[in-house]
């Protein structure tokens, strides 16, 4: 085949067929983009919903509906189950009653920890071993004389109480301590279930004895939680046992058997004889609920008595936690007696002075515990008391409580708990009062900054009557705090209140204050809070311009000496700005400068070690910011901004390409303003734009984006009649293709550039059609370059690709030969106008086509040799179509070639029969327009003949 050189003759339409061009309308949005984004999710969702709603109706079994009621037997079975369940549920409910406490428990356990050694009487566990032996022995021969047994038992109980005193004390680490307590709890349940109830009681007593020791103040709240868990378990066991002894068949009236009552009384007698106050109190409180088995009102009166008994506890910490436990017990019943809770609290206030009495201070000094830490240990207990105290109470009661608390010295602790537990509305309403109170206790032991930050948190998002005054007063106290970290915590808490309430000047002075506070000491520790402050300002501010008019904002950012943190902050700031102000665009020079400053920080943080994803995110963020800056009609300024930006952000491809796109857009905007016809001034401006793009593109690293940008710039330049730039750009693009590797690696997987090259070259060709030839160069020299590049690019591995592109080049050349091109760019005379179908041009085109044809046929041959038959036949078919469409079949050899190609493509049966049929139909229809003796009708007949052969 290759021995014979085929001459191509482009078909030039003899009859001028008027080209009907669809009317073009200017649109602002890409027509495809909008429709896809809106319709897709909607469709998916409705489908899902449909499916869900339909299924239940379809599963209705007609047999099921016949038997509408439940059959009596299973109903009965369900009933009995239910009865059992009812009683069980009741027990369960008892347990779940203290749910809010469970949450609290976790908080306490995680907050109050220690590294110090904790004391625990070793006698507990050792003693238990002994007593269990004793008891089991005793129970074995209990059928001997009973009187002595009772006596013996009581004596032993007495002895045991005395025995395990503070005799031997071992010290444990926190974890060991926790494990030991848990072990005790297990032992307790185990003992209980083995009917060693006295032993269980003893364990409960030992546990509560742990609460006497307050040596490690920091751990005390956790210790309280651990031990009260054991006590709760004990109380629960007692209750359950009594419950099982009494008649529970009717859930609402409790019929207590005499023996249950007796057992209950026994318990209380036993507990009443515990020598020490604190264990007696705790254990009685733990089983207090069981008083219900004796008498209805017994519970309340006993609880009241216990509350007053707490007065006898000298150690204020122990006392307050005991009160906390009593409140828990009080609230655990169905109708809690609020009065008791109130009495309890007022008792607490009466003895409040104990908290910082001399004895306590001496003790603290000895244990080297500072007072704020010590006071912190009170917080959970006081909070719990307050929470239950103010439950469902009105403002008047709250006022009373607050006033009662505030008239005490060292009220910081109380204020702290009030601020934490009372509802925000109440606090924000009385915020001025609270500020005054906080101010008055600023010289006392409780850290003021905690109070202030709590108040600040309460004020968050609240509208109050006198915000200015509150703010002023609050800031006065806050700025008096000298410790930077404390100061910052306050500012953070107040932030969301300050920012909406204060004006720019106020905020600015606040920032100044912050800078002044932080400038002393080690800055590194404040990075976190400072970042929070900056971000919350940025988040809450309504207008970016206002943000940057504060001259202290950027200095604040400069406090981050460390580049990484600074970049991180800058990034977060820009993130927030980008996300919160979607519609925003700015022209303000200060804002622009500041934004660029931030972006620059971010940009400079990118280095070799930055991971790809990070780099991409930063790039898109900066691009986003750049797009936000809009000078409106001042295009010159906009362009000079882009010039500056290019100089600033050299590291990131995505930013540079954004800049190129922006400038291209700018050129198009200009063209839109002048409605396509440029004045001298605008023309030079768009030239400048094109020049900007042209010199910016080479600095981009990625080849594909370079190519795309070149092409885009070419198109824009063409639209703006910058022919020289367009020419240069497209030439640059075409020469660049040669450098593009066929394969590239992405995430370790080799990927082919083939689809990209195919698409890109096609697009280049369609652009080339409208690009006029430069008079100094030869005819269609750009196309020639392209073909040469393709030829150079081709090797054995991409034959299919290149051949396909050759075919497209044939398309392009055929289009060049037309007297009137399919499309034009407004204001640009394409080659059709320049050459006016000059015969010399046509012959040049024919020559080029012949070369291409030759190349193509050569490639087809090579494909055959490589046995890529399928590809070969499809390409043959394609070429055949080109011939039918573009070539003058009457010219010498053309139709023979067409027939050969047809045969070649149909031979292997790789082409769809339907397609072949349709093609023949098409050729037949087309041939009608030609005289019957010309090549096409003859060809049509020949083709039909081959088709019959095939069938």
């Amino acid at each position: 085949m290759s021995t014979h050189r085929w001459e191509w003759h482009t078909q030039i339409p003899k009859i001028k067929v008027p080209i009907v061009r669809p009317k073009s309308t200017l649109v602002s949005e890409h027509p495809l983009k909008a429709s896809t984004t809106t319709s897709f999710p909607g469709k998916g969702l409705t489908k899902v919903v449909d499916r869900v709603t339909k299924t239940p109706t379809s599963v209705q079994d007609p047999l099921m509906s016949a038997l509408d009621g439940v059959d009596p037997l299973s109903a009965l079975a369900a009933q009995t189950d239910w009865d059992e369940y009812d009683t069980k549920k009741k027990v369960k409910e008892m347990r779940q009653k203290s749910d809010p406490w469970n949450d609290q428990k976790q908080v306490i356990l995680s907050k109050y920890t220690t590294t110090k050694k904790l004391s625990m009487a070793t006698g507990i566990i050792a003693g238990l071993e002994r007593s269990s032996v004793a008891i089991s022995k005793e129970s074995r021969d209990s059928n001997k004389e009973q009187p002595t047994t009772i006596r013996h038992r009581l004596e032993q109980l007495d002895e045991e109480f005395e025995h395990v005193g503070p005799k031997e004390v071992a010290f444990y680490s926190q974890q060991e301590f926790i494990d030991n307590v848990k072990e005790l709890c297990n032992e307790l349940t185990q003992a209980w279930h083995q009917d060693f109830r006295v032993k269980a009681l003893k364990i409960a007593i030992q546990c509560s004895k742990l609460l006497v020791d307050t040596a490690v103040v920091q751990f005390y709240p956790s210790k309280f939680v651990l031990t009260t868990d054991v006590l709760d378990e004990f109380g629960h066991l007692v209750y359950e046992r009594l419950w099982s002894k009494s008649d529970t068949r009717k859930p609402h009236e409790l019929i207590v058997s005499e023996s249950a009552k007796e057992t209950c009384r026994n318990w209380f007698y036993k507990i009443a004889s515990i020598r020490e106050l604190i264990p007696r109190l705790y254990v009685e409180a733990a089983v207090l609920k069981s008083y219900n088995f004796l008498d209805d009102c017994e519970f309340s009166s006993a609880l009241r008595r216990l509350v007053s008994m707490v007065r006898g506890i000298g150690d204020p910490l122990v006392a307050v936690f005991t009160r906390c436990y009593l409140v828990r017990i009080a609230m655990s019943v169905d109708n809690p007696d609020k009065l008791i809770v109130k009495e309890n609290f007022s008792d607490f206030l009466k003895t409040y002075g104990q908290i910082l009495s001399n004895g306590v201070l001496v003790e603290l000094n000895k244990n080297k515990v500072d007072i704020p830490t010590y006071l912190q240990s009170y917080v959970p207990a006081v909070e719990w008391m307050l929470v239950n105290l103010i439950k469902d109470s009105n403002d008047k009661t709250k006022d009373e409580i607050v006033e009662a608390c505030c008239c005490l010295p060292n009220k910081g602790l109380l204020l702290n708990c009030i601020l934490k537990t009372f509802d925000e509305d109440y606090i924000s309403r009385k915020s001025l009062y609270f500020i005054k109170q906080i101010d008055s206790c600023s010289n006392e032991h409780f850290p003021v900054h905690m109070l202030l930050s709590l108040l600040g948190k309460n004020l968050k998002d609240k509208s109050i009557a006198n915000p200015k005054e509150v703010l002023e007063q609050g800031l006065i106290i806050i700025s008096q705090i000298t410790e930077p970290s404390d100061y910052l915590s306050c500012i953070i808490a107040w932030n969301s209140f300050i920012i909406p309430q204060s004006n720019v000047a106020g905020l600015n002075s606040l920032l100044e204050d912050v800078i002044a506070h932080v400038s002393v000491g080690d800055k590194k520790t404040f990075y976190g809070p400072l970042q929070d402050i900056i971000l919350s300002i940025v988040t809450n501010i309504s207008n970016i311009d206002v943000l940057f008019t504060m001259d202290k904002f950027l200095p604040l950012l400069d406090l981050f000496g460390n580049d990484e943190v600074r970049a991180q902050t800058a990034r977060k700031t820009l993130d927030v700005l980008g996300a919160n102000h979607e519609q925003y665009s700015t022209t303000d020079p200060v804002t622009i400068n500041s934004l660029i400053f931030l972006a620059k920080i971010l940009h400079d943080s990118v280095n070799v070690l930055t991971v790809e994803d990070e780099r991409r995110q930063i790039g898109s963020l900066i691009s986003h910011i750049i797009r936000k800056i809009d000078f409106g009609l001042d295009f010159e300024k906009q362009l000079s901004f882009y010039v500056d930006a290019r100089a600033t952000f050299t590291n990131l491809d995505s930013v540079t390409s954004t800049l190129v796109h922006c400038v291209n857009r700018l050129a198009m905007e200009t063209s839109k303003k002048v409605k396509g016809t440029h004045t001298k001034k605008t023309s030079s401006f768009v030239h400048a734009c094109a020049a900007y793009s042209f010199i910016t593109i080479p600095s981009i690293r990625s080849d594909t984006s370079k190519l795309q940008l070149y092409l885009a710039t070419t198109q824009v330049a063409l639209t703006n009649q910058c022919l020289g730039q367009a020419d240069a750009c497209i030439k640059a693009a075409i020469t660049l293709i040669a450098d593009l590797p066929l394969y590239y690696e992405m995430d370790g997987v080799p990927k082919s550039n083939e689809p990209f090259i195919q698409e890109f070259v096609k697009e280049v060709m369609s652009t080339l059609l409208v690009l006029p030839d430069c008079p100094e160069e030869g005819i269609l020299y750009v196309t020639r370059i392209l073909v040469n590049v393709l030829q150079k690019y081709s090797d054995d591995n991409n034959l299919g690709l290149i051949t396909g592109l050759y075919l497209h080049a044939l398309d392009l050349l055929a289009a060049y030969a037309q007297p009137d091109y399919a499309y034009h760019v407004k204001g640009v005379d394409s080659n059709d106008v320049l050459y006016g179908s000059d015969p010399q041009v046509i012959s040049e085109i024919n020559k080029m086509c012949s070369v291409l044809l030759d190349q193509t046929l050569g490639n087809l041959q090579k494909l055959k040799e490589k046995e890529e038959i399928k590809k070969q036949s499809s390409l043959c078919f394609e070429l055949f179509m080109r011939l039918i469409h573009h070539a003058d079949l009457d010219a010498q050899g053309m139709s023979a070639l067409a027939v050969q190609l047809w045969k070649l493509s149909t031979r292997k049966g790789c082409i769809d029969k339907k397609l072949l049929n349709n093609t023949i139909q098409y050729v037949k229809t087309k041939s009608c327009r030609y005289p019957p003796n010309s090549a096409l009708p003859v060809l049509a007949l020949q083709l039909e003949g081959t088709l019959q052969d095939l069938q």
């Binding site: 059928n143 004389e145 009973q146 009187p147 009772i150 006596r151 009581l154 006497v212 058997s257 005499e258 023996s259 009552k261 007796e262 009384r265 209380f268 007698y269 009443a272 004889s273 020598r275 020490e276 106050l277 604190i278 007696r280 008595r305 007053s308 008994m309 007065r311 006898g312 506890i313 000298g314 150690d315 122990v318 008792d347 009466k350 003895t351 002075g353 104990q354 009495s357 004895g359």
Partner: protein, 297 residues
């Protein structure tokens, strides 16, 4: 497994009053059928007195133990000679609780030198060569609560260095003032002992405030009488350095068995006292003694 006898009285709390009839069952569990020569159930109440070796010599204490006084005694045969089948057999019984002539019924009391105890004893006689099986069970006797009009007279007390007995204050005792009230010194045994105590002020911190319940047992006999004071229980009501100026409740439940209504007979007496003890940090202590009369009301 051997033969097992259990005496179960009907009342769960085992408390009976004078002239009550004690009813219940004797439960016999046996692995195999046994023969017996009759089952007897006896009810007995005794006051046993013991002399304290402190008051009389150790030998006298050993030998001269005062003879127990029997308050009541009753014996019933609940079964004639018979065989008991294998398994569980319940034999109901009823015994009237009446005193012997010229004897007074006293409440059950377990003391150190004086014990007042009521028991039921079941005896299963098994004939020659076989040991009788005996089971003893205690039951409790209480006075019937009487509606007495007890005049509740609160007793106030103040403890200061000046009020201390024994010696004059030479100014070495640090200053303190402790005041309080005992709601009544005539106490119902089934109700708690109540009152309040306030540390008005104290120069040295307190360590503990305690209530000590003591019994005063007096045994009279031909040779004279012996009076012994022993502690029954000690209840702490204040722990550590308690807040001053705030009333701390005094509250103590009288333990069962170990207390009874105050008792005075010809040859023995049982009385009770409460000591309010305040212990200071340096282990010095002050106390106030309150003789109390216990009644059953």
């Amino acid at each position: 497994m051997q033969v097992n006898i259990d005496i179960r009285v009907k009342r769960a709390n085992k408390i009976y009053y004078e002239t009550d009839t004690i009813s219940g069952v004797v439960v016999i569990t046996t692995p195999q059928q046994i023969k017996h020569n009759g089952i007897a159930l006896s009810m007995e109440g005794i006051v046993s007195l013991q002399l304290s070796p402190k008051n009389v010599g150790i030998f006298e204490a050993f030998y001269n133990s005062v003879k127990p006084v029997q308050i009541c005694y009753a014996l019933v045969d609940i079964s004639g000679p018979n065989t008991i089948p294998q398994g569980k057999t319940e034999i109901p019984f009823e015994i009237p609780l009446v005193t012997k002539p010229n004897r007074m019924m006293h409440e059950t009391y377990h003391g150190v030198f004086i014990n007042i105890q009521y028991t039921l004893k079941c005896e299963l006689k098994r004939g020659f060569m076989l040991k009788d099986i005996i089971k003893v069970a205690e039951f409790i006797v209480e006075y019937k609560p009487k509606k007495q009009t007890t005049d509740v007279k609160p007793v106030n007390f103040v403890i200061t260095p000046d009020s201390l007995e024994g010696g004059v204050d030479l100014g070495t005792i640090p200053g303190f003032r402790i005041s309080g009230t005992i709601d009544s010194t005539v106490c119902n045994i089934s109700k708690p002992f109540t009152g309040q105590i306030t540390i008005q002020h104290s120069e040295i911190p307190t360590k503990s405030i305690e209530l000590q319940l003591v019994r005063v047992e007096t045994c009279g006999c031909a040779e004279g009488y012996a009076k012994d004071v022993t502690e029954i229980q000690n209840i702490q009501i204040g722990e550590g350095n308690v807040a001053s100026g705030i009333a701390i409740p005094i509250y103590m439940i009288f333990p069962r068995l170990f207390t009874c209504p105050s008792l005075a007979t010809n040859n023995f007496k049982v009385e009770f006292e409460v000591n309010v003890v305040v212990i200071f940090e340096n282990d010095h202590l002050v106390s106030e003694n309150f003789p109390i009369a216990l009644i059953r009301a």
